[in-house]
């Protein structure tokens, strides 16, 4: 900027360079940094609050640490403790049951909902609004309402009674507590994944269906040969997202059943919380986190691979 006076003389050569493409490079490199700077704040945040903690969790899983005294290196002891702890095994399987118990029905019900809402019908926009409204509800509200719903004299039992089924204390029996929580998870997940599926359905060009109709394809043929293949990316996304969000459940077991009865609803996040922040065994909690992470990671990889293969065929 200080060479403003000299600009007149250098201007022609500058223009020449610009035309030749030399200036483009400097413009380009300037833009390169601009792009990176736009991403940088988010990246720094994630490094501080995701990647660094992840590395710390890995490191901590080899130490004994109670927040008070300095950490002591114990090698694989934490993993060994977990492996020998029947409560950890129980929590792991509770989480697995919950994850699949919630996700798999969600995939189908949400798709059914999306197909329904994608149809032409009177009052569609209001009906869509009514279905999507529960997406906005908070978890704590849901937990409180359902705890009340599952009360021995609550609405669930009242409705079941009209069908001749006796009153059940859903949340305090070992056989029914986890299924009761799974039912809430499904009920809660359907609208959100329904919106995502609906978006996917609307992205399918109408011409594809029209062409299929001209070729004489029926409703089911169109569904399996047009809708499903074109919806595959959305299906992948819903599958991964539903599993990831199901494994995070913590609030419902905490406030509705306190992990009981007899640990039958103590999901892994609950186990991790309890080990770390109630028993102050941070190292063991970190080790449990690593197990959960490896499990999630493996599951996501398998899913992506399977679906990618499915997509190619």
């Amino acid at each position: 900027m200080g060479r403003e006076i000299g600009v007149d003389r250098t201007l022609p050569s500058k223009i020449r360079r610009l035309v030749a493409g030399g200036g483009k490079r400097s413009l380009h490199s300037h833009l390169r940094w601009a792009g990176f700077f736009f991403v940088l704040p988010a990246l720094i945040h994630l490094i501080i609050f995701k990647f660094y903690p992840m590395l710390q969790a890995f490191r901590l899983s080899f130490y004994r640490y109670d927040l008070m005294s300095p950490p002591v290196f114990t090698g694989l002891e934490n993993y060994n403790l977990l492996w020998q702890n029947p409560l950890f095994h129980q929590s792991f399987w509770v989480s697995v049951k919950y994850m699949f118990g919630v996700s798999i029905p969600e995939w189908f019900f949400a798709l059914a909902l999306a197909l329904l809402l994608n149809r032409r019908m009177p009052g569609r926009s209001v009906i869509r609004l009514a279905y999507f409204f529960p997406i906005a509800m908070s978890q704590i509200v849901v937990a409180m309402v359902w705890k009340f719903m599952y009360h021995p004299y609550g609405l669930v039992n009242t409705i079941l009674e009209t069908f001749g089924i006796g009153r059940i204390n859903w949340l305090s029996m070992e056989e029914s507590a986890l299924p009761a929580l799974i039912a809430i998870g499904i009920w809660r997940g359907i609208p959100l994944f329904g919106v995502i599926y609906l978006a996917g359905l609307q992205a399918i060009p109408k011409e594809y269906h029209e062409a299929a109709i001209i070729d004489g394809a029926g409703v089911f043929q169109r569904f399996f040969y047009v809708t499903i293949p074109l919806l595959l990316p959305t299906i992948t996304f819903v599958m991964v997202l539903s599993l990831l969000s199901a494994v995070k459940v913590f609030l419902n077991p905490l406030v509705m059943t306190e992990g009981g009865p007899n640990g039958t609803t103590k999901v892994l996040p609950y186990f991790i919380y309890e080990t770390g922040f109630a028993f102050f065994r941070m190292g063991e909690a970190a080790a449990a986190s690593m197990v959960l992470f490896v499990f999630l990671f493996g599951l996501t990889l398998i899913q992506l691979r399977l679906l990618r293969r499915g997509g190619v065929e």
Binding site: G35, G200, Y273, F277
Partner: protein, 277 residues
């Protein structure tokens, strides 16, 4: 003519079926509202009276008096709006950078950001707490807000929707001498409003709702959020269903309001994103 009637009848049947579904999906909320205006004894009366003869508005002030709910609501608003703001700013900037610039390792950056979806707070709970403790933020608003201020899903959402903005618009602005930030402010932001609406709604809902993190990091009453306050009150007075439901209704209102305000943008944002790729 006959075919047309059949079609119309079919449409009406589908509407009826859909309405039945709505009833099933919303039933718990109807019951919640209904119970919140009954007495503690009436809530279990059979047959169910959806609207009681004597509406008990008094449940609402009574329930609020059972804890420092003014403080809890205030804290929830602070956390929800701060995190929503953080997400809107950082995720949109990052989404723009990833969608419209070429720079070395751009794809790597995107993958790294997306991979944090695999690292929910539940998994990094212990070390995140240690980080916040080392930063001296335990039991502060900063500690409540900071770890939540960027969410990879938001970056993904914004990147997808900004990619659909034509490059020619950006090039034209650049030719006119608009600064990079000016382009972001005047071209990008106005053109991704639906996605911003979707992001705002989701961020508000998720963080109005925050339970696990405040549960760990807010140890004193003056920093507790509404979900913590409600869970605590329920733990003490678990039989007062009418009052718990009154609090639940009040806890629902902000999110419901935001939803009605943003729902068009929300649905359109998700639709535009298409979630392809």
């Amino acid at each position: 003519m006959r075919r047309k009637t059949m079609l119309r009848l079919g449409g009406a049947l589908i509407t009826l079926f859909a309405l039945f579904g709505v009833w099933v999906m919303l039933l718990p909320y109807f019951w919640m509202v209904s119970s919140s205006i009954k007495t503690g004894i009436e809530v279990f009366d059979l047959p169910i009276k959806w609207i009681p003869d004597d509406i008990q508005w008094v449940n609402y002030p009574n329930a609020l008096a059972k804890g420092a709910f003014g403080v809890y609501f205030y804290n929830s608003f602070v956390v929800a709006f701060a995190v929503m703001g953080g997400n809107l700013v950082f995720c949109t900037l990052a989404g723009y950078g990833l969608a419209k610039f070429r720079f070395p390792h751009r794809e790597l950056c995107f993958r790294l950001i997306l991979s944090t979806l695999m690292l929910p707070l539940e998994i990094v709970l212990v070390p995140t707490f240690l980080v916040v403790r080392d930063l001296g933020l335990v039991n502060t608003y900063g500690g409540l807000i900071a770890p939540l201020a960027v969410d990879a899903f938001g970056v993904f959402l914004m990147r997808q929707s900004i990619r659909d903005i034509p490059d020619s618009l950006i090039e034209a602005a650049r030719m006119d001498g608009c600064s990079e930030f000016g382009i972001f402010w005047r071209i990008i932001l106005p053109n991704c409003k639906p996605a911003l609406g979707a992001l705002a709604l989701l961020a508000f809902r998720d963080n109005w709702d925050q339970f696990l993190w405040p549960f760990i990091v807010a140890t004193t009453d003056n920093l507790k959020t509404f979900p913590l306050g409600l869970a605590q009150m329920e733990g003490i007075d678990s039989a007062a269903y009418h009052e718990i439901m009154a609090l639940a209704v009040m806890g629902m209102i902000p999110a419901a309001f935001i939803f009605l305000f943003f729902q068009r943008a929300f649905v359109r944002g998700i639709t535009l994103t298409g979630l392809k790729e």
